[in-house]
Symmetry: C2
């Protein structure tokens, strides 16, 4: 039998032990990143903080320094495993930028028009000017190392510093505003539109910087001529223009066809990812980084008015939860964060980044007539950096444009600004993040099987638990709740009752949840006996909490699946899971 | 500044041109696989057929033979790109087996108990015995090449042949039964439980074969001693037992905690994938293939009673639609399907595979008292091979257990049996696959903007289109529908009306859909005027179609989003998309 000598994907390109190492490396990166990301989230911090920390832990900074042998086993210096990790990280970055692009809604930007433009412009120009100026006139202050092998000249370096300081992290700020219930408010849309413009302009600028320093290794299958800088910049602008015009036109024609005739959502997922890969290959080919192409393709597809929400959500669910953590954890493998930590540099970068962006956002908002408190909130919001700066920094590091110390300073800056942005907005607007029902559920405040068979007994049983939890007088609670119950019964239907009262001297709203398998007649409008009884106690001076919590309870327990799962739950944890898996919006977790 | 000499993930391990090649190779594999998979689906064939064909097209068989230079550019013989493709394919196979494992519901197997056991046993023993016998007594008939460098001796070879012939493809058969509405029927649960048992036993057997031929390269970080065959088999059985007992116990404790305290669904997705990677690393380490560990972990997690449906669905959506096509397309890169095609071998494998499995399933079902037609359907269902045989074959090829010709024969066998199984069951049960609403929508049968303002006019307008489409007499249709309408008005509420009639000499049920923006009063129970009017014509002798279609229409148009999208649609395609993206179950597309 004739076997051709064309290359085939053959066995043995990986040895079994290399497969083991590869799988363990992936598992370590993903597992640690998810774990620390979840811990960060539980501490009300963005997940990216934990994910980057995971890389620092696993990388040369901690694990490598403490167990060099184990580290070199898991992340070898060279060979197939390095290529396996590198290719997955590259792919992760491409997919991450794809979903970032999908979030850019050009139509929102147009609608906000003047205001978005003003905020975007002022909040970009100021950090850019200060960053560029400092890097130009005091380059050594900003970590510029002249004459070294990373030297590409001062101009691209200064341009990069300016750009790195002036991009707002769209995904981070969108997540923060969404969590605060501000995403659709006037403030929210202005900030998000301005951040989108920021992103778009910043990335184009960075593409130009990359073109300026490109090692001219762009390939051409027909001859070996390299692309000149001018040609690269021209082809980049042409690519952007084409994707956002002809591409958008084409997407608007193709996507309805795919959604009409293709399998759902598989065909669309495949189309989105293949198109992103092709865009990425193109921009890599012309000498700027692959992720830029994925970002532009993401914007083009995301603005197709026929694109269904489910495609966006499924890509988010998987890419945001699997590929993004892998990518952010890999950052820590690149640098020793302790050795490359330069306190002065970190402080300078941080100060410039915060002050210029805060001021820029504030002035831009005041300029178009927004109030002072609101303008302050805009400044705080625009301040948030995140994934974008870190990716930018990593590309610059890889390209030899900056050194490890400056990279570390940029990572710190991105993390710190992401951390302070949310609390900053809250402070400016004197507004708290709305809480979720799960935040009020504690094991000691749940009665798994109530003995009561009447409302009077139920209130006594719940009040006893409340008195113990709050260390308050039982009689006082019981009397207040029962008095309220006698005015209008608190059965709200769908087998739920919410007896409640306002108490003096209560520090925080308190919820006691009880289950009654026999049912208690709380006189519901629908005639159903209550099986889930929530005793709700709020402070006398607190005007809003009672209503907020009542609406949280109604919304959560409206879903029959949640009620069924709560009644079936064998433990407090299972009750919490029933509430949590219903309440959480499947969102990008703060990248 | 001190920079440590620990390895770091550095720039430059991939050259830009290698990144371009890698991205293009991924895009070509995924794009072609999805495209041909969708085409197969439109022809009512399983997607895997198109996906494997995509690899054959892109691989040495077609593209490589016609454009060797282009082929070697896209899929180079060696270097980083090979490792990138290999690692992604390995990862895809692991994730694919993970979701296959998640589908195995041990509880269903227990519930079907005796019947599942009987069908599973007889339908395994017969193909295994014949396959083993043929391979043992007539090895050269089955493609055994003694004395070559792929020679591991006759015993593992014969065992492999037996196993490869006796495994039923659980995902394929589950999909077929689901499509036919039989998944929850008695027949369906017996077949699915038997297939699960098949899978489980077959894979364990194959793990033992792998252990027998393992090149003893299992690694041990402390010393260089290799694992013996006995030790490998022992550790495999121990692993299975541990995952399905202690592991299952642990999953039942951990998963509720993750669902209660973690982000949703991100934390669960991460947990599932990390656990699968660890299981895969372990089985690779002990000398059997990595995907086996992912499969067992999938079974362990899938049987956790707390696992929520959404986790299963999201992993399916992404892995089934992205990683599975990548994996199946990569098959074609391994072999030249034309050069390695051996007609006699293909026919022998095919004949043995079909006859023994058909007979085995039939006898097993008759044995436990099922009817003859039903038993025939069980036989046809058990006949379906698919992904599993192909993965098995590929592992055997990589391990040097079989040669390319036998591998090609196995791929053919898997494809052909998958193709005939569905139609075979239909024939046995004299039952047609239930159709979907989109199958009745054609551009010429839609009126985008009706002029009618009364039911009488509307029926005239729709009947005119029907007369033209069906080439039938207009008056006859109009009179029949209007006569029916006068008995009871056909407004079904929610702005939908379904005037209908049965006609003599109609070959197939016909639907004419009209939109009325002004609304027509079809006397709906809810008092709303109809905006979507479906004229439904069925044959006089056809007792079931009218009810089936009415229920399809009611179900589809119940969703307010679908109605809104239909009314907003600018074209027929957009209407089809609105119906399609609502109707399609997000399922594993027939792997």
């Amino acid at each position: 039998m004739l076997i051709s000598n064309l290359p085939t994907l053959a066995a043995g390109s990986f040895e079994p032990d290399q497969v083991v190492t590869m799988l363990l490396a992936f598992a370590a990166l993903l597992g640690t990143a998810r774990l620390l990301g979840e811990l960060a989230r539980l501490c009300k911090q963005p997940a990216i903080l934990g994910e980057i920390l995971a890389g620092v832990l696993l990388g040369p900074t901690i694990f490598g320094a403490m167990f060099p042998a184990g580290y070199e086993f898991l992340f070898p210096k060279d060979g197939p495993v390095v290529y396996a990790i590198e290719s997955l990280v590259t792919l992760s970055a491409i997919l991450l930028l794809l979903i970032a692009g999908l979030e850019v809604e050009l139509s929102t930007v147009w609608r906000q028009g003047k205001r978005a433009l003003s905020v975007a412009t002022v909040s970009m120009v100021l950090p850019f000017a200060v960053g560029f100026g400092l890097a130009w006139w005091a380059p050594y202050w900003m970590g510029y190392v002249a004459g070294s092998d990373i030297d590409h000249g001062k101009l691209p370096f200064a341009l990069f510093i300016g750009i790195a300081l002036s991009i707002t992290a769209l995904p981070v700020i969108a997540k923060i505003l969404l969590d605060m219930g501000l995403a659709k408010s006037e403030l929210g849309t202005v900030v998000i539109s301005a951040a989108m413009l920021n992103d778009l302009i910043g990335w184009m600028g960075f593409a130009i910087v990359l073109a300026m320093i490109a090692p001219n290794t762009a390939i051409d299958p027909t001859d070996t001529a390299h692309l000149s800088i001018g040609k690269t910049i021209g082809m980049t602008l042409l690519f952007i223009a084409l994707v956002l015009t002809a591409g958008a036109w084409l997407f608007n024609r193709i996507i309805p066809l795919i959604q009409a005739y293709g399998s759902w959502p598989g065909a669309m997922l495949g189309f989105v990812i293949v198109t992103a890969l092709l865009g990425a290959a193109y921009t890599e080919y012309i000498g700027i980084h692959s992720i830029f192409g994925a970002f532009i393709v993401g914007i083009g597809i995301g603005n197709c008015r026929h694109l269904r929400e489910k495609v966006r959500r499924t890509t988010h669910d998987f890419i945001g939860n699997i590929f993004a953590p892998l990518f952010f954890a890999s950052i820590g493998l690149r640098v020793n964060f302790i050795e490359a930590f330069d306190l002065q540099l970190v402080l300078v970068v941080l100060a410039v980044a915060i002050i210029t962006k805060l001021l820029g956002g504030y002035l831009g908002a005041v300029w178009v007539g927004m109030g002072r408190r609101e303008s302050g909130a805009v400044g705080m919001a625009m301040c948030a950096r995140g994934a974008m700066e870190i990716i930018l920094g990593q590309l610059a590091l890889d390209a030899g444009l900056i050194d490890q110390s400056l990279f570390v300073a940029i990572v710190f800056m991105a993390l710190v600004t992401s951390l302070i942005s949310g609390p900053g907005i809250e402070k400016m607007l004197a507004r708290r993040q709305p809480r979720k029902l799960r935040d009020y559920l504690y094991e000691k405040q749940v009665i798994l099987d109530m003995r009561a068979s009447t409302p009077r007994e139920a209130i006594r049983e719940l009040a006893a638990v409340a008195a113990q939890t709050l260390d308050m007088d039982y009689d006082m609670i019981d009397r207040a709740v029962w008095a309220r119950e006698q005015i209008v019964p608190t059965g709200i239907g769908r087998e739920v009752a919410v007896p409640h009262a306002r108490l003096p001297k209560l520090s925080a709203p308190t919820l006691i949840l009880g289950r009654s398998f026999s049912g208690i007649d709380f006189n519901s409008p629908d005639g159903e006996e209550a099986q889930i009884i929530c005793l709700l106690l709020t402070a006398e001076h607190d005007a809003t909490s009672q209503l907020d919590l009542l609406s949280l309870i109604t919304r959560s327990f409206n879903d029959p699946i949640v009620r069924r799962d709560i009644m079936r739950a064998e433990s407090f944890t299972a009750i919490l899971a029933a509430v949590n898996t219903n309440e959480s919006v499947p969102e990008n977790e703060g990248h």
